[in-house]
């Protein structure tokens, strides 16, 4: 095998070689340290990228399916060349990929479709909620309580330009629809992760509850700020069943339980 450091090299020389080889593995456009076999080094670089691609592909299955393979590979390669994350935990690096797609990738990879970052965020949410160490108690019995209600710590609300929950290989719109997608994802007490496309009323209700807890009886009054007479009637009809449903689904919990989860 090739020798690339002088015999009886000191630790500093060996570590410099390790760093240079790693720089090449992250981005094979960088120079390979002198003396190393280019063919074997290229195989190494390919193995490293393939390994990361399979780790990320498991966390973002729909994104991987929707992107042309060459584009997926390119994003993984660019990410690997740029990322400097120190987390040793594998879900952690998958999360960094979604952040990179939202923040750095658009400038780095202008050909990246516009919906990529939003879809990655949505897929990341699912895994993140499934893994979250937060936990709710056993299912409460009885009707919606009178006391203040809050959102469960296992609820995430998102507004996306793209309908990420409906994207499929044969269903990628050319441009985002006029209306944004208001989406809710949550983990229930049975530990199942669920999602819902929100009606405008439900989105407003949950936005209010994100800001501060309210008693169910007060929500009709505070929502929305100005209420025309027709809307008031609509609220009286639709709000109680919506609240009841969100309570049954473990989206809403009592303020008391929400504080105990913190």
């Amino acid at each position: 095998m090739r020798v690339s450091v002088p015999p009886v090299a000191g630790l500093a020389e060996l570590q410099a070689l390790q760093r240079d080889f790693a720089a090449y593995l992250r981005d094979p456009a960088r120079p390979l340290p002198a003396g190393l076999d280019p063919a074997a080094a290229a195989i190494y670089a390919q193995l490293f990228r393939r390994n990361l691609s399979s780790l990320l592909g498991a966390a973002y299955p729909m994104l991987r399916r929707l992107l042309p393979p060459a584009q997926w590979q390119l994003l993984v390669a660019r990410f690997y060349a740029q990322q400097r994350y120190t987390t040793p935990l594998f879900p952690g690096i998958a999360g960094e990929f979604a952040r990179w797609l939202a923040e750095a990738a658009p400038a780095d990879s202008p050909a990246m479709p516009d919906w990529v970052a939003e879809l990655a965020d949505w897929e990341w949410l699912e895994g993140d909620l499934a893994r979250s160490p937060a936990r709710l108690g056993p299912s409460p019995t009885g009707p919606l309580p009178r006391g203040p209600l809050a959102l469960s710590p296992l609820v995430r609300r998102r507004r996306y330009r793209w309908p990420v929950h409906r994207l499929a290989p044969e269903a990628i719109p050319a441009r985002p629809p006029a209306q944004p997608s208001e989406l809710l994802m949550w983990r229930d007490r049975g530990q199942a992760v669920r999602f819902l496309a929100l009606s405008p009323l439900a989105a407003q209700l949950l936005a209010r509850l994100e800001q501060r807890p309210h008693a169910a009886a007060a929500l009709g009054v505070v929502l929305p700020a100005q209420q025309p007479a027709g809307l008031r009637a609509l609220l009286e009809r639709h709000l109680p069943p919506l609240l009841e449903w969100l309570w049954r689904q473990d989206v809403l919990i009592t303020l008391e339980e929400a504080e105990a989860c913190r």
């Binding site: 095998m1 090739r2 020798v3 690339s4 450091v5 015999p7 009886v8 090299a9 000191g10 630790l11 060996l14 570590q15 070689l17 390790q18 760093r19 080889f21 790693a22 720089a23 593995l25 992250r26 190393l36 076999d37 063919a39 074997a40 080094a41 195989i43 190494y44 193995l47 490293f48 390994n51 990361l52 399979s54 780790l55 990322q83 400097r84 994350y85 120190t86 987390t87 040793p88 935990l89 594998f90 879900p91 690096i93 909620l129 499934a130 893994r131 979250s132 160490p133 937060a134 936990r135 983990r187 530990q191 199942a192």
Partner: protein, 290 residues
């Protein structure tokens, strides 16, 4: 170098049940296997997991892991300590790791004789330069890790496709590290085969040079047939016939050591994996009578 903990020099006293793998055979624990394992409860002597996949995991996965731990002994095989990497050891991670091992009653911890960092995580195994200065460096770090984790660890001989330095042979490098660090070896038989073929040495002679008392357990796995002259350790194929033969030789030398069948890619149904494991056990059993 700043030490991570007040280090005790010399052999660390490790409770035996924190540094041994149960006798018999096992497979790797993957999230996708949790439900199937709990439903079928196949006869497995232990399950091996990568802590980097499981630390901090709540929800259904966390619950299932706890349940799995009630039915099977767990051992851990890490990928991120970067024992030979050019960065300080990650003290925060080591403490997380220790908490995880203690919480789940994990019997054995191992990682690779490799580097996985260059100032940040590489998420893969970079080979170490086989040089005397690296032996001292990595042995010192292994001792620090053993101190923080409160147990003796095992290191795995990784597969490598090029040598960053050949001041020492791979074998001498490995033996020196084991000696200076006073740690155990997780002998990956497939890696011995792959490395021997790729770098032109005698796999049986390599195994014959390893002191029996150092080997904690064995790994066996599949590899990809040669491409551009190199065999690649993929863990995505069934175990190759010459590797079974080498494993049989290892049992002759070391006795019926606990053995883990690794499979990370191209996953077959659990029944196929268990059939392959049964073959492994059949090779291991005659060893027990010798």
């Amino acid at each position: 170098m700043r030490r991570l903990a007040a280090a005790t020099v010399g052999v660390i006293a490790t409770p035996a049940d924190l540094a041994t793998v149960p006798a018999g055979t096992g497979i790797g624990l993957r999230r996708a296997l949790l439900d199937e394992l709990l439903a079928q409860r196949p006869a497995l002597d232990f399950l091996e997991l990568a802590p980097e996949n499981w630390i901090g995991l709540g929800g259904r996965f966390g619950e299932r892991l706890t349940e799995i731990g009630r039915h099977y002994p767990l051992i851990a095989h890490g990928l991120s300590l970067s024992l030979g990497g050019p960065d300080p050891l990650d003290a925060r991670f080591l403490h997380q790791l220790r908490t995880f091992l203690d919480t789940h009653g994990v019997r054995s911890f191992s990682d690779h004789l490799a580097a996985t960092t260059d100032g940040a995580q590489l998420y893969d195994l970079m080979p170490l330069p086989f040089a005397p200065a690296m032996v001292r460096y990595v042995a010192d770090r292994i001792r620090q890790v053993q101190d923080v984790l409160g147990r003796r660890i095992a290191i795995e001989n990784p597969s490598y496709y090029l040598a960053l330095s050949d001041d020492l042979t791979e074998l001498d490098f490995l033996l020196e590290v084991l000696e200076q660090a006073d740690c155990d070896l997780l002998l990956d038989v497939n890696n011995v085969y792959v490395n021997a073929m790729n770098h032109g040495y005698d796999a049986e002679a390599f195994i014959a040079a390893i002191p029996p008392g150092r080997v904690r357990y064995l790994h066996v796995a599949g590899h990809r047939p040669p491409q551009q002259g190199l065999r690649i350790d993929t863990h995505a194929e069934p175990v190759a016939e010459p590797v079974w033969a080498l494993l049989t030789g290892a049992y002759r030398r070391f006795g019926p050591l606990p053995t883990l069948l690794e499979r990370d890619g191209n996953l077959p149904p659990l029944t196929a994996l268990l059939a392959e494991l049964a073959h492994c056990r059949a090779l291991q059993q005659p060893g027990r009578t010798q």
